[in-house]
């Protein structure tokens, strides 16, 4: 069974490909949705195409499936049009599947289920990464605010931290918001040297 993955994101395609390989599907091609990708897909003649629901090239792919002579058989999207639960899960995970030659449902279902799990795994990774990036940025903001307090008010680092924390608690705000406000106010009151003033 030949599976085509249309995807721009190297990581997501890799995660999906590995999962499919583990499940015993080896005839897999990853195609980036650029330029003449539709013609490439046509030559490849896959049995099933998996792509990100949010990919702008979905319209182009559907157009190909409509006009293509090579893939003239009716297409089924999301495997079985009556399987609402699976369709819902696929949409939530952001995966869309085009079965291009009318494969039997039993053969396609495990692939789509696996794709859904893998897309979810990718999304979890992305959330984790975004959280990590935010956490890092927050820590930097905090350090900067503490430095300002230490320099302008002669506080120790624990004292500066305690002051930020108690201010945040009193105002029911996140400590990083207080730190940001302090940095902004400090920049306004005391412009950095070398700005030409």
């Amino acid at each position: 069974m030949r599976i085509a993955i249309v995807d721009d994101s190297g990581l997501r395609a890799t995660i999906l490909k590995e999962g499919l390989a583990e499940a015993g599907y080896t005839d897999i091609e990853v195609v980036a949705p650029h330029g003449g990708f539709v013609a490439r897909l046509e030559r490849m003649a896959p049995d099933i195409v998996l792509m990100d629901l949010g990919d702008p090239s979905r319209d182009a792919l559907e157009e190909m499936l409509t006009v293509s002579r090579a893939l003239a058989r009716p297409i089924a999207m999301f495997v079985d049009r009556s399987d609402d639960a699976m369709i819902g899960a696929a949409i939530d995970a952001g995966v869309s599947a085009y079965v291009v030659d009318g494969l039997r449902k039993e053969r396609v279902k495990p692939i789509l289920e696996l794709a859904i799990r893998r897309f979810n795994a990718f999304n979890a990774l992305r959330v984790e990464r975004d959280d990590a990036i935010t956490a890092l940025a927050d820590r930097k903001t905090l350090e900067k605010a503490k430095t300002i307090l230490m320099q302008s008010r002669g506080l120790s680092e624990p004292e500066a931290h305690a002051l930020l924390r108690s201010t945040a608690m009193n105002q029911s705000r996140r400590i990083v918001e207080v730190a940001e406000a302090l940095i902004t106010a400090h920049a306004l009151l005391d412009p950095p040297k070398g700005t030409g003033r």
Binding site: P56, D84, S96
Partner: protein, 378 residues
Amino acid sequence: MTPISIAFLPLTDSAVLVAAKELGFAAEAGLDLTLVRSTSWATVRDRLVYGQVQGAHMLAPLAVAVTLGLSQQPAPLVAPFRLNLNGNALTLSAEFAQALDPVLANRVQDPIATAHDFASAIGMHRRKPIIGVVHRFSTHALMLRYWLGFAGIDPDRDLVLRVLPPSLMVEALRTGEIDGFMAGEPWSSVAVSEGLGQIAAFGSRLWRRGVEKVLATRKDWAEANPDTLDALLGALDRSAAWCDASENHGALAAMLAAPTYVNQPAELILPALSGRIVLGQGEAPTIDPDFLMLHREAANAPSPDHGLWIYSQFVRWGVVEPSDVAQAAAAAVFRPDLYHRSLPDRAQAGAVQGFFDDRNFDTARIADYVQGQRSVHS
């Protein structure tokens, strides 16, 4: 507050939906409106058909196509509100546009001459020109086919119509994958501002009151939620009136420019709203007050006649076999009854008219209409 989600594509003609949320028209009507940004019409359609959203910013012909079972999962849809009339432009690469009138404004003002010039330009090109369209079931594609067909061009034989989402048109023009495209704004203005193309036709000059995007819902949802639908149409009506007022265009352009909506500079969104369109880099704007109509002249009132016109073009291009059932189903997508239930004092939509070739669309003689058009190119 009743939660409601509507899927949309980043286009200037999503304005009425965006303003309904941002300015609180939806909230005043008791609706907690969520707008779901999407990147392809296929995604908008699927979100609607599979019930992830209750409403969609949708190409009018796509709403008909889904109802007729021509685009993936068949589902009866209804269009109780038109979000706009007109708003599209045809943009060509400078190389391809060489064969047209050297005065850019003349091209737009005389679509008949430009259609014939376009036909001769095809002959001068070494290969079939490739023109991007946003979807096979779009008004733009139907208008482009109508216009080219008038000049004896068979769009399925003499050129390649390539489907691309609107947001990828400019990049495709840059890399030479396409020779031009017909799409909603701001994408033509973006292409012009980057010096990649010249606008050769306005949709508003090809069909002076062309039905464009509609608010589409599933028929069963509309029937089960009359109060929510009424509230929504009331909110959209107030939003559309605000959007259409010229004094609000600057604020509207700034609102649409946000990354969560169109994500393009406000100065490239404003031209479609104000009807002052720059056709080529360095040119003075060409004025067309009807370039994009959001509220006036019963712009929001749907009419079954528009479904019939779309059906006539589907028959013309062989997308659907002529049948009374399909014809009736296409007409029934447009629901003036729902529109007037919410907005009883609004005017009715006019008849389908205003094509550049002055051909009359008589809903009682659709077969003759199609036959007359077919004879042009076969």
